[in-house]
């Protein structure tokens, strides 16, 4: 129900958001404390490896929230959000490469190793400025944001929606993957960017930095979640649901549907970029594989499993699937793709509302139940003809 609070203050009054933030804060705190206070070898000690792994999950969760924002609330199934994630990651990776300075294998203070290897004489123009962290962090937002802006502007203006949009977002990330594989692009080609040393002057390999990155990921997820809740709880959020369910009606009410779509798409792309930027220093590498269509579509299944148009469902889905992936690929790597493939089929056929839908059935918040129910009919049932019109 609309109320008179400002859109950013509103989420704090929502029960579901309060619970989410509390759980997130407590988990991050608990893991940090278990890592720092308990000695190694203690059964409850959380190793650095696990902390980093969890940090990675949190980045994925933020990416899932970004996808849920456009898919759940706007009805746009992006199969190319991995591209925004990777662009954010590359922006961060470029900064980390410049941080290496002359400690690379070739000892060139200016050029990253791979450029020296390719016999490049000077830094390409698009690498300028990445030695300044502030600029690099700005690019983490701007690079994916700009791509989303241009792509979205073209697509939404000509009213490309539905499966068509999904297919061309997939083509977009595929084209980017091919491009980044090329050495000539100046992003390290096949190998990508790696061998990072420092971030903001701190050694990336130290425990303290790992913990800090983990906490930063938790904070980013919390803030991203708040931002998205703020948007979806505002009148703009209701407008985006309106665009999702009855585009023509919305237009005849005097709203510029394509601008709503563009705004939310760009916000979502930027969130994905932030997730990518936090992901890269934790895993220590960024390569064109992150652009692969498979990854982007995998993100969608996280959201589908968790439950669309709930935001917390996206987080849940990302954590569950990635934990399962870690376990599966550890004990029986062959079975993982079977499991993932099966998940795609089972979730779409048997669990269209996701896990959040199960909660809702037990009366866990009337509001989310009904909106999840509608999501199914809304973003799925649009016939092809309408989607293209």
């Amino acid at each position: 129900m609309p109320d008179s609070r400002s859109w950013l203050a509103r989420p704090f009054t929502e029960r579901s958001t309060q619970i989410f933030l509390a759980v997130l804060t407590l988990s991050v705190l608990a893991i940090t404390l278990l890592h720092v206070l308990l000695p190694e070898g203690h059964p409850l000690h959380v190793s650095t490896f696990t902390v980093t792994l969890l940090g990675k999950y949190l980045c994925y969760a933020l990416l899932a929230v970004a996808v849920d924002l456009v898919w759940g609330y706007l009805g746009i199934l992006s199969l190319g959000h991995g591209a925004f994630f990777a662009l954010g990651g590359y922006a961060m990776g470029m900064y980390l490469m410049r941080e290496i300075g002359d400690r690379g294998v070739y000892g060139n203070p200016e050029l990253p190793d791979f450029m020296v290897f390719l016999n490049w004489q000077e830094l390409p123009w698009f690498w300028q400025g990445f030695d300044m962290p502030a600029f690099a962090f700005l690019m983490v937002l701007l690079a994916p944001g700009l791509l989303a802006l241009v792509f979205g502007f073209l697509a939404f203006r000509s009213r490309v929606t539905g499966v068509y949009l999904s297919i061309i977002t997939q083509a977009l990330t595929f084209a980017l993957m091919l491009a980044f594989f090329r050495n000539e692009m100046g992003f390290g080609g096949n190998n990508g960017l790696t061998d990072f040393k420092d971030i903001l002057g701190f050694d990336l390999r130290t425990d303290a930095v790992r913990i800090a990155l983990f906490i930063a990921s938790g904070v980013a997820l919390g803030l991203g979640y708040l931002l998205c809740r703020g948007i979806v709880g505002s009148k703009l959020g209701r407008l985006s649901i309106a665009c999702r369910d009855a585009e023509a009606r919305t237009r005849f009410l005097g709203y510029r549907v394509e601008r709503v779509q563009l705004f939310i798409f760009v916000v979502s792309a930027m969130l994905a970029g932030v997730a990518g930027a936090l992901y890269v220093p934790q895993v220590g590498i960024i390569n064109p594989g992150e652009f692969s269509p498979l990854f982007s579509i995998e993100v969608v299944v996280w959201v589908a499993l968790g439950g669309r148009a709930t935001l917390y469902g996206a987080v849940l889905g990302a954590l569950i699937v990635n934990y399962a992936k870690t376990v599966f690929t550890g004990i029986m790597p062959d079975a993982w793709l079977f499991a993932l493939g099966g998940l795609f089929v089972l979730v779409t056929v048997l669990l269209p509302k996701g896990i959040a839908g199960l909660f809702a059935q037990r009366g866990w918040g009337r509001r989310s139940q009904s909106s999840a129910a509608k999501t199914e009919s809304a973003s799925g049932s649009r016939p092809i003809e309408e989607a293209t019109a």
């Binding site: 609309p2 008179s4 505002s234 209701r238 369910d245 009904s370």
Partner: protein, 275 residues
């Protein structure tokens, strides 16, 4: 008639609650003006040299057999379909063919679809909130807060469309007739100068129909209303002037009695019923 027109003009000038009502210039007569409009789909002429004029404050009913081009005409007026030729003017200042759907809507043309279209996942209240005439750009919408005034306006409309006790329910669970009402309510929230209403009473009970007729006639005068309807009883109950469309062009125009005794119209309808 001229008095009516003046009242409408005054209403526009002095109504401070709707500052965004567009400066539609109706001093030269009609509010909507279609001239020689034609459109064809794949060789089929849906609209064929259509000429139509709606006066300011008028209530006009448009009837015609299936495929006569009624819905296509509405599509053209609201900017959804671009005609192959002809011109469409709103007042004497606005060329509708050069405007997008949202621009046309903002200018003051509201439309109710043939199939009632409401935002099913949103509550009745929220449906009306979205429809309200206000700054519809992105950031104002994001930062919009519910003011007492807005709430009062929404409640007023809820009263009018008899959905007050339903205001917190999702629009998806409403009956067909209630959705029709909600959509009309959304039109009212828009404060349009011209309402295009496509089959407003389909799926309504006799009583609901009566209320709708009442509502539409009460709107006329302040706003211009164009009603497309199949239900002849309903048309007869509200119509002052009726236009008959046939094969994308105007077949006859006049009072209900005059039109229904027109041999051309009789032939079309009888022919239709035969086929």
């Amino acid at each position: 008639m001229s008095l009516l027109k003046e009242m409408a003009t005054r209403d526009r000038v002095f109504d401070f609650l709707t500052p965004r009502t567009s400066p539609v210039d109706v001093t030269h007569g009609p509010i909507l003006y279609l001239e020689d409009v034609s459109v064809s789909f794949d060789g089929f002429k849906a609209i064929n040299d259509l000429n139509l004029t709606i006066d300011d404050g008028e209530l006009r009913c448009i009837i015609g057999p299936n495929g006569a081009g009624k819905t296509t005409m509405m599509d053209i007026i609201t900017g959804k379909t671009r005609p192959d030729s002809g011109s469409v003017w709103f007042g004497s200042r606005h060329d509708l063919l050069r405007m997008s759907e949202p621009e046309i809507a903002t200018l003051g043309i509201g439309r109710k679809f043939q199939k009632p279209t409401v935002f099913e996942a949103l509550s009745v209240f929220e449906n009306l909130e979205l429809a309200m005439a206000t700054d519809k750009r992105i950031f104002p919408t994001l930062a919009a807060r519910m003011s007492g005034e807005t709430r009062a306006r929404i409640e007023e409309v809820l009263e009018t469309i008899h959905l007050k006790e339903w205001h917190a329910r999702e629009a998806g669970i409403l009956s067909h007739g209630q959705k029709q009402w909600l959509e009309i309510g959304m039109l009212l929230m828009q404060k349009p100068r011209l309402l295009l209403v496509d089959e407003p009473v389909a799926g309504m009970t006799e009583q609901e129909m009566e209320r709708t007729a009442e509502l539409l006639t009460s709107l006329a005068g302040r706003q211009s209303v164009v009603v497309v309807e199949h239900d002849m009883g309903f048309v007869r109950s509200i119509a002052r002037k009726v236009t008959v469309l046939h094969q994308g062009a105007v077949l006859a125009e006049g009072s209900m009695d005059a039109v229904s005794s027109d041999p051309k119209v009789v032939e079309v309808y009888l022919g239709e019923s035969d086929g």
